[in-house]
């Protein structure tokens, strides 16, 4: 005879033990942190067969305490610390911190430095999109396209090495300008050749990944979100554009040289995974086009950093009291920084708002209901989840 759950629980409680009831026919799966598909992030899934019934986000494996550490170091030193927050795109935290401190200081960044900063940010966007293509193709099973993307990204790494001195962690954009000058006209010609080379290889990616019948079958109609849901849940970046909202920080809150550049912004209506992938594919082309326009403009003459006598004694550099907010369009979304100063030589409070804090917690918990196990890493990748943003 089958004993029911209530009888078992009652019996256990009479004997001093506590039993928790389980829902019918479901089992729990820890989609854990040591998984290549989730990039050091974990989800607790309740499954019925191979369909997800409930998902709980479990962040916290990459917490290093950046916001508290930044309060004990002088203003300039924080650049070497804060850029380790976002690994695929390490120029973005440098740029937002420098822009916020520039606003507090009240000085005007020279034009050559603005040109160089724009070129560096656009190159970072292209490398981050190639890195994303590698991740998407590995999770779908089309390994060839991923290896190609990693190889083309190497050419941009070599260009970064000549400009800034390191391949991945550049430590190049500082409050007041940039640290070094462009190493001559040869570098500009190499950048132009690289942009031309990658542009000619994009149809190959289309053949194998973006126009493939398998990709369409796996991605169409999965993980749908509509416009109202996206705006209420704080979704930003390409995910919002795939849901039908006309939003781009480069046009709504312009910074650096973007008002003088000409590019198009893709907006689709469906809001499913396929729309998010196609929006990002279109943006790679537009970023390469922006780099061509910048190279045609050429760098303006002048100094590459603000001339200020305070640079002689950097550890005692003081910033006037106040607060400032700066944000930038990154490939994952809308990256923002809020900096508070009280007049000393160290910050009083630094807060970095990564875009994944809204994508990775509430949105993924609601989008995963009804999906299959094989769809879970694919939906995570199309949202552009970057777990260090959540944990900081």
């Amino acid at each position: 005879m089958m004993v029911s759950q209530e009888e078992l629980i009652r019996e256990a409680r009479e004997n001093g033990m506590e039993l928790l009831p389980l829902e019918k026919d479901t089992y729990e799966l820890f989609f854990g942190p040591q998984h290549m598909a989730t990039e050091n992030y974990s989800l607790i899934l309740k499954l019925d067969g191979h369909r997800v019934v409930k998902a709980i986000a479990n962040p916290g494996f990459l917490h290093r305490g950046f916001e508290k550490l930044a309060e004990f170091r002088p203003w300039y030193t924080n650049i070497a610390l804060l850029l380790r927050i976002c690994v695929p795109e390490p120029d973005v935290p440098e740029a937002i911190y420098s822009m916020a401190v520039d606003e507090l200081m009240g000085w005007e960044v020279p034009e050559r430095a603005q040109w160089i900063r724009t070129v560096v940010l656009e190159m970072a966007r292209v490398t981050s999109y190639l890195f994303w293509t590698m991740g998407l193709s590995f999770k779908l099973g089309v390994y060839t396209a991923g290896q190609w993307a990693a190889a083309y990204r190497e050419r941009f790494m070599a260009l970064f090495e000549q400009l800034t001195g390191a391949r991945v962690y550049h430590i190049y954009t500082i409050p007041g300008g940039v640290r070094r000058d462009i190493p001559g006209d040869k570098w500009l010609r190499q950048l132009k050749d690289t942009v031309e080379y990658v542009k000619n290889k994009l149809p190959d990616f289309d053949n194998i990944l973006f126009e493939n019948y398998i990709t369409y079958n796996r991605l169409e109609g999965i993980g749908v979100m509509d416009k109202k849901f996206a705006l209420a849940e704080g979704v930003t970046g390409p995910n919002l554009r795939a849901a039908g909202v006309k939003a781009d920080v480069r046009r709504l809150d312009p910074y650096l040289l973007y008002p003088e550049l000409d590019f198009e912004v893709p907006v689709l209506k469906e809001g499913d995974s396929l729309a998010r992938v196609l929006v990002r594919r279109f943006e790679i082309e537009q970023d390469l086009y922006i780099l061509e326009q910048l190279l045609e403009m050429g760098p303006p003459d002048g100094p590459y950093k603000v001339e200020d006598p305070r640079f002689k004694a950097l550890p005692r550099f003081k910033v006037p009291a106040g607060d400032a907010y700066a944000h930038v369009e990154a490939t994952t979304g809308d990256f923002g920084a809020y900096v508070v100063s009280d007049g000393r030589n160290k910050p009083y409070r630094v807060q970095i708002r990564g875009p994944s804090i809204s994508h990775g917690i509430r949105v993924i918990e609601q989008l995963l209901v009804g999906a299959r196990i094989a769809d879970v890493p694919v939906i995570l990748m199309t949202l552009g989840n970057c777990p260090p943003d959540i944990d900081r």
């Binding site: 916290g60 508290k68 209420a232 930003t236 005692r316 708002r353």
Partner: protein
């Protein structure tokens, strides 16, 4: 460059909320100061005036004034303007309580979990505050938080047992 659009936005909101103070800081940045009891009213008013998303809730610990300042960062896609909404609440752990706004902006649930874990601010009405967020269990029970009176350096030295180059009795690490 004129600041007409931002001044219009500030004026429209201040007409409906006489208890608030507002001003324009520069192009595309405006600021409001409100008392702590009126948070829910004011944010409902902002939502009706087309401020669609909340970007972050920041908690700043002003230890000399004895208060914690909560800054709600709001962004509007229609007006293209970023608004700081600032309130102040007392600093002691029993008195730092604020009503939750998660039914007006659903994303505020995550931001409130963050402010609760690191600054011990309690948001009434949010059931997810007891769920573990980022810190590990042993750290949370030892009272680790990012307030200014918690001595993080001696806690780290005790836990990981390394003799560091930082001096315990010096508050200022620039020698």
């Amino acid at each position: 460059m004129t600041l007409e659009k931002e001044e219009n936005v500030v004026r429209q909101i201040l007409e409906k909320a006489p208890y608030a103070e507002g001003k324009v800081r520069r192009a595309r940045r405006i600021e409001f100061h409100i008392p702590a009891e009126r948070i829910r009213e004011f944010l409902t008013l902002l939502k009706e005036s087309n401020f669609e998303t909340m970007m972050q809730i920041t908690a700043v610990d002003w230890i000399k004034d004895g208060e914690i300042e909560l800054v709600y960062q709001m962004w509007s896609y229609t007006h293209a303007v970023h608004a700081f909404v600032k309130t102040r609440i007392p600093r002691e752990v029993e008195k730092a309580k604020v009503p939750s706004v998660k039914d007006i902006y659903p994303v505020a649930e995550t931001y409130e979990r963050d402010a609760h874990e690191f600054y011990k601010v309690y948001f009434e009405g949010n059931e997810k505050l007891e769920m573990p967020w980022i810190l590990e269990d042993e750290d949370r029970e030892a009272g680790v938080c990012h307030r200014k009176d918690f001595d993080m350096l001696s806690y780290v030295k005790r836990k990981y047992k390394i003799l560091d180059r930082f001096e315990e009795d010096k508050e200022d690490y620039v020698i």
